[in-house]
Symmetry: C2
Subunit: 215 residues, 2 copies
Amino acid sequence: MAGDEDGGLAAYLDEVAAGTPAPGGGSAAAVVGALAAALGEMVANLTLGRAKYAEAEASLRPARDRLTALRESLLESAAADEVAYQTYQDAASLPRTSDGEKTERAVAMQRALTAATDVPMGVARSVYEVAEILQSVARLGNPHVRSDAALGALVAEAALRGTLLNVRGNAAMLKDRELALTYVTDADRLEEAGREAAQRAYHTAMGVADEHGSR
Amino acid sequence: MAGDEDGGLAAYLDEVAAGTPAPGGGSAAAVVGALAAALGEMVANLTLGRAKYAEAEASLRPARDRLTALRESLLESAAADEVAYQTYQDAASLPRTSDGEKTERAVAMQRALTAATDVPMGVARSVYEVAEILQSVARLGNPHVRSDAALGALVAEAALRGTLLNVRGNAAMLKDRELALTYVTDADRLEEAGREAAQRAYHTAMGVADEHGSR
């Protein structure tokens, strides 16, 4: 129960709320993505093994297993985001008296920034996959809990948009403009495809024929 | 760090993912709302007490304190949602052999359903308030972390829409159609106002003049 884990869930929220830079938005977005995966797993788990939905079994089981793996990887990314942020802060704290030191610090900061951009980019890819899988969960899942798949889709879309804020924010600080452009182009592509997948999952779950349904 | 609380955050996600009805979507939506509040608090906490942003102090301090209270209340609602669901399940399990028992069971189920609708309705009101407050956080917060206020707004919008799915789903099962209509009307009103507030907070944080900015 949510009320029970005052040492866990509540403690994590306390840490987010605190005036310390980590865990920050990057970690929170990954956690929201993990929650979207968990909601999809719940719908699948309340469908699997029931005679009534036996036909869905073959598709839903691998979908559920993949969501579990994505949830774990998203929680790892939440932790990795905090490490990446700290590495960047450490680089920024390097001495900058001599010209050599200044150059070294700038190089270390750019390297840390690249790593700190790769983390939310990985989160975005995972959340996109969660949204893709939620479509089949929404189509095949137990109708009694299908609105939880719709919630999962809403939450996945927020996680995707949120994590891409960090990709774009970090990319804007990269001196390597070609690399920055690659990140931004990937972010735009993932945002479009991911939001489309999430919205399709939502509409499927809500039983509304979505605009892509007739293709 | 997110990686540390494998007994807390990860355990909560495990429980959501499991094939048990609680914690379900209602609890998860409340937790997502609590995370939106926490993100707003973080931005406020990284602004308060800094000479550079002294002007924001008088508005941001009560905003931050209110977000903390809303976060706590949302976590309580997450737990209350699980209790309300269990109460409904208990009512559904009452004996239904005699006509008297059938009536008693039906009355108990409708009473439990009303309580189970009040919880997500309360969550929706709290999340709406979070979205309202995020607007000032987005306007007054430390620009270096303002994108976290934008993330908070995205997350709040998903939480609001998600919790209202439960309000509408439960209302649809209420035999008292007048009461059901009241819930649905309130849900529609809250959804419109809350999404507008969240989107305004998002655009403010992103530095985009939103369409309501010139009113």
